[in-house]
Amino acid sequence: MRSLIRISIVVALVALVVGALGAVGIASPFAKAKTEKVKVLDDFYKPDNVKIKKNNKVKWKWGQDFNSHNVTLKKGPNGVKKSKFTSQTSSAEGFTFTKKFKKPGKYKFYCTIHPDVMKMTVKVKG
């Protein structure tokens, strides 16, 4: 019985802290990251402009396409590695690529297979 009371107190305290963090605009470590979805189609991304908050995710999903595509980081904030934001090349319907954006800034992506026509931007706010 005592241990049950202790657990209840701990849970209540955690809930209070999380609530307080949210109230002052600080992302809670327990908050679930939001995920923006982007379709990869012949030969474009939809949408091609995405705005998210720091620590949120973008999930690219391949459609029923004739051509192979990839998601490749062309330019990002200083210190962000291109290789960490580059998908495999795929033509498979339903293939997905998900990335979490921890660093604010502007991320420019393109498909190296269709570089002239397949481009998109992810803007990450702090």
Partner: protein, 453 residues
């Protein structure tokens, strides 16, 4: 005296050769891969150990490896990845293969690597490609080689090089791909071009045998393309760099029985995407060679037979907004068509009459697909002398006939490629029983179900 001198020279040469061979091999780092008992149990682990500036060889012992191998950058220049026996023994299998938690899309994906060689390997069952060598815009992948490799039942392409120069794909077998067995695409224009050698391959039961979007300086020769939807199909698309596809050769090949109706419900091959070029348009099946928006291709000395629609078809793509998918300056010469009349093509040749400079000369047994509704006589679309007279061809992307009224060359082409459902293209085929050839089974004798309309 003379004898001693000769012995001395021979001994020195032998010693020199041995030293040279030893030093040449010593220059390479060798990474051995096998399922048990080697330092590396996966190809990726071995590749990850390659050091910049060192020539490296990854030797893979026989076995089946469920993995996708991916690497990028000139650190890997001149890397050799090779099986140690026949490709039948050393298999990269895409089933349950994963890369960083995701399904592996390609058996080997090499980006921005010069001089990569892939040898004696079999890549099968990958959702996208078997062996995929490519470069990003502004970078390069010079002189790749895929030698004695097999690829089967990969979602898009078997052996795929894009944005590369030179290179070769030889002595391979490619079957069951959802797009093409071999693909060379987006070749950068070159002042002193390095040609890509495609030779001694057996390419069969793919949607397309060879496809090459905006490819250039490709020499396709001494290969067999059979039982595909279409055999050899260089093409121009505006979605990719370096239009048009140009300056290629298709010579000394055997191109036959390309009557694979892969749209049928029980087809063993599933087409990638919706299987077409978009807007309800599909490649013309039953065709040996398709020159789609091609400029300056030579089709010479091939044996082309038993294709139920066209032997060789050359046409522009008026839907390409840039106007660069233009059928021009193609020479179709000295081919042997229809196997002496025993295994004919429905028509040996189709030309839409667009562009300028496409000609048909010296072919053994020529039948020309010439539809009613054309403004000009047959010689306008089918000049039988090369170079073609200036009077032949419309000069533009629209050929003979009226697209809207569905008449003439363009009318027939549009109706065929837009057949709905696509499996009904086969309703236009002229079928016959093929005489035996090299012990092979014609794909049109297999039952893939009925075309549901």
């Amino acid at each position: 005296m003379k004898f001693r001198f000769v012995v001395g020279v021979v001994a020195m040469a032998a010693l020199g050769g041995a030293v040279f061979a030893a030093s040449a091999s010593a220059k390479r780092d060798v990474f051995k891969v096998c399922k048990h008992g080697c330092k590396y149990s996966s190809v990726q682990k071995a590749v990850d150990k390659v050091k910049k500036g060192k020539k490296s060889t990854v030797k893979i012992k026989p076995g089946t490896y469920h993995e996708g191998v991916i690497f990028s950058g000139h650190k890997y220049d001149k890397l050799i990845i090779t099986g140690t026996k026949s490709p039948k023994k050393t298999v990269l299998n895409g089933k349950n293969a994963r890369i960083q938690g995701s399904p592996a899309q390609n058996a080997i994906d090499a980006d921005n690597v010069d001089g990569l060689k892939i040898k004696k390997l079999w890549a099968k069952n990958y959702p996208t490609n078997g062996f995929f060598v490519h470069a990003d815009p502004g970078d390069h992948c010079h002189g790749f080689a895929m030698v004695n490799d097999w690829t089967s039942f990969n979602g898009s392409y078997g052996q795929f090089a894009k944005h590369c120069t030179g290179g070769k794909i030889t002595n391979g077998k490619m079957w069951g791909q959802g797009d093409s067995g071999i693909y060379i695409g987006e070749t950068p224009p070159q002042k002193n071009p390095k040609w890509t050698d495609i030779s001694n391959n057996k390419v069969y039961e793919n949607v397309l045998g060879y496809s090459g979007t905006n490819s250039k300086y490709v020499d396709i020769h001494d290969s067999m393309f059979y039982n595909n939807g279409a055999g050899v199909a260089p093409n121009t698309l505006e979605s990719e760099l370096f239009q048009p596809n140009a300056h290629g050769k298709i010579r000394n090949n055997k191109i036959f029985w390309n009557n694979f109706n892969y749209f049928l419900p029980k087809s063993p091959v599933q087409t990638v995407g919706n299987g077409g070029l978009g807007n309800g348009i599909n490649y013309p099946t039953g065709t040996g060679v398709i020159l789609l928006g091609s400029d300056g291709w030579l089709v010479k000395d091939n044996q082309i037979f038993g294709n139920f629609f066209w032997g060789v078809a050359s046409f522009s793509n008026p839907l390409n907004k840039t106007g660069k998918a233009l059928n021009e300056n193609n020479r179709i010469v000295n081919n042997t068509m229809g196997r002496g009349g025993t295994d004919t093509n429905r028509f040996d040749f189709f030309n839409d009459g667009s562009g300028k400079g496409t000609c048909f000369a010296g072919n053994q047994s020529s039948t020309f697909d010439f539809q009613s509704g054309n403004q000009h006589p047959k010689k306008f679309s089918y000049p039988t002398t090369c170079p073609a007279p200036a009077s032949a061809g419309t000069g533009g992307v629209f050929g003979e006939g009226n697209l809207l009224q569905g008449t003439g060359q363009v009318g027939e082409l549009a109706a065929y490629v837009a057949s709905d459902p696509p499996c009904s293209q086969a309703d236009s085929w002229v079928r016959h029983k093929h005489p035996a050839y090299q012990g092979l089974t014609p794909i049109d004798t297999k039952n893939f179900g009925n075309c549901k309309k």
